[in-house]
Amino acid sequence: MRLVRLTDQDRPEIRFVFEGQEVTARAGDTLLTAILAGDGGFLRTSEFGDGPRAGFCLMGACQDCRVFVEGQGRVRACTTPCAPGLRVRRA
């Protein structure tokens, strides 16, 4: 999955790390946007073996977008702001 940056994207660039790779995002991105508007593709793998997931509701209700952030533990990517230097892994 890839989110398309359409409008309101002239915000300062920030850098964070996803799965060991440095990724460029924009200040004001959620983690979900920062990962999925780049090459991240998906956020986690279903623990029941039915494939990758990338969130569903984007409003903090479905809990399907969780990722692991060093120092924060498991968080919802859709409600967590991206910040410079975060180290994020798929959950």
Binding site: R2, L3, L6, R11, T33, R53, G55, M59, D64
Partner: protein, 461 residues
């Protein structure tokens, strides 16, 4: 008097406005970093689109609500980024969580304005990255300036389907098609009731006309069949059937799904408010009257969390519930305002009934869901597994209602607590048992209403 308002969407803002006007200083909580609710959600700082670009025809209402919100924050005990994860009554107590820190707050009266979320019917392939709710597609655009894909298919029914489609068109997003599952004749029949709110009707027609004029493929009476792709983390196509029974394969890289919304009623449930099935909305809704009062003393409800009415109703109901609270507390009431609010609420209720008839929940789609479809996306329970749990010759005997089926299959037992699959699961079970959806029951609310981080014990000194 300690008053709490949960939620800072249209209902919460108008409720707090009345409480502050009466000289109270309410505790005011929202899970989001800012108020506005989902409908008038503001992007984070640094985004620069005008209200016109963000909210379109609703820009004036959004701007007015935001102005009220910002003016009220310093006059209340405003707690953004805060989850209410449990509620108790007599004595009133809210359990809060902010930045991983749990606290408790007592209250004498509370107005719960907890909003709604999308109501979905699972389609084979709906767990693929690239498939979201219609609300999610809208939030991506509104709050992040992004489209969910390059070629987006929007599927479902109801006002949100056409609104999101129009907003995507206007923002320059690529739309593959808009597929409305409601047959045209059904909407036409229901139009008779809609002139109770001609402005809303006109808006709907405006959106559809603009989409057609832009050459976006639009279909009515459509049936989604499957969302497909070669790699597991992409969407390549949506297979669907038209009203004449012909199958189509629509190339797209993202799909937004939604069939109206359902109340977020977990806190009302935990507060002991009786919950009943509303056959018109086809939703479980907490019991309350026109004033927002519930059978539980000190608990008031307003907005979509109290039964779906939309943003305009939420603003009226929030103010009305606050006036009810003031009256019950023996404080002065604005009787002229109360009369005006009730008149408008009654008029809106008639319109809402017509709208629900125009865009009914597609119970038939849920009932016809193929067995192998993942129904509960948290626990990966398929429709077939739920049907098996309903069979009288199963190891446990038939599950006569949804909580028993949950115990046997884990449906609705995952991290979303059935918010996403609950409505469709009830339909699948009802169809299998041959009974009414109302008889299937609903997944009971459980604290914490959302997953919480477990605090680490402090290291010994």
């Amino acid at each position: 008097m300690r008053v709490a308002v949960v939620g800072a969407g249209p209902a919460g803002v108008r409720a707090v406005g009345q409480l502050v006007r009466a000289g109270l200083h309410p505790l005011w909580i929202d899970e989001a970093p800012d108020g506005g609710g989902r409908i008038y959600q503001r992007p984070p700082p640094g985004f620069r689109r005008s209200p016109q670009a963000l909210y379109g025809l609703e820009a004036r209402k959004a701007t007015a609500l935001h102005a009220a919100l910002d003016a009220l924050k310093p006059r209340a005990d405003w707690r953004p980024d805060t989850l209410v994860w449990n509620i108790a009554t007599h004595p009133g107590r809210l359990n809060l969580m902010r930045d991983g820190v749990a606290t408790e707050q007592g209250f004498d009266a509370a107005i719960l304005c907890t909003g709604a979320m999308d109501r979905v019917v699972p389609v084979p392939g709906w767990t693929r990255p690239g498939v979201t709710t219609l609300g999610a597609a809208q939030i991506a655009l509104k709050a992040q300036g992004c489209a969910i894909g390059q070629r987006v298919a929007l599927v479902g029914s109801g006002p949100l389907l056409w609104l999101v489609a129009y907003q995507y068109l206007r923002a320059g997003a690529g739309l593959a098609a808009v597929l409305d599952t409601t047959p045209f004749r059904r909407k036409l029949q229901a139009l008779r009731g809609l002139p109770h709110d001609p402005a809303t009707l006109a808006k709907g027609l405006f959106y559809v006309t603009r989409l057609r004029a832009a050459g976006i493929p639009v279909a009515e009476g459509a049936t989604p069949l499957a969302i497909e792709g070669e790699a597991p983390d992409v969407v390549a196509a949506l297979r669907w059937r038209d009203a004449a029974g012909r199958e189509h394969r629509l190339e797209c890289d993202a799909v937004g799904l939604g069939w109206g919304v359902r109340p977020e009623l977990q806190l009302a449930d935990l507060a002991g408010v009786p919950i009943g099935f509303d056959p018109v909305q086809h939703n479980w809704v907490p019991q309350r009257d026109l004033t927002g009062r519930t059978p539980v003393a000190g608990i008031y409800l307003a907005g979509d969390g109290a039964g779906i009415g939309g943003a305009a109703v939420a603003e009226l109901a929030g103010a009305r519930a606050a006036q009810a609270l003031l009256a019950d507390a023996g404080l002065p009431v604005d009787t002229a305002l109360v009369a005006r609010l009730e008149r408008r609420l009654l008029r809106q209720a008639r319109f809402r009934t017509a709208l629900e008839r125009a865009f009914p929940f597609p119970a038939h789609l849920a009932a016809a869901m193929p067995d192998e479809t993942i129904l509960c996306r948290c626990e990966s329970v398929t429709a077939g597994e739920l049907r098996a749990a309903a069979a009288p010759d199963g190891p446990h005997g038939a599950s006569p209602e949804v909580n028993r089926a949950k115990a046997f299959t884990r449906i609705g037992m995952g991290r979303c607590q059935g918010r996403v699959c609950g409505a469709a699961a009830a339909e699948v079970l009802a169809a299998r048992l041959g009974c009414d959806t109302a008889a299937i029951g609903r997944l009971r609310g459980q604290p914490p209403v959302k997953p919480l981080p477990i605090p680490q014990p402090e290291a010994a000194p």
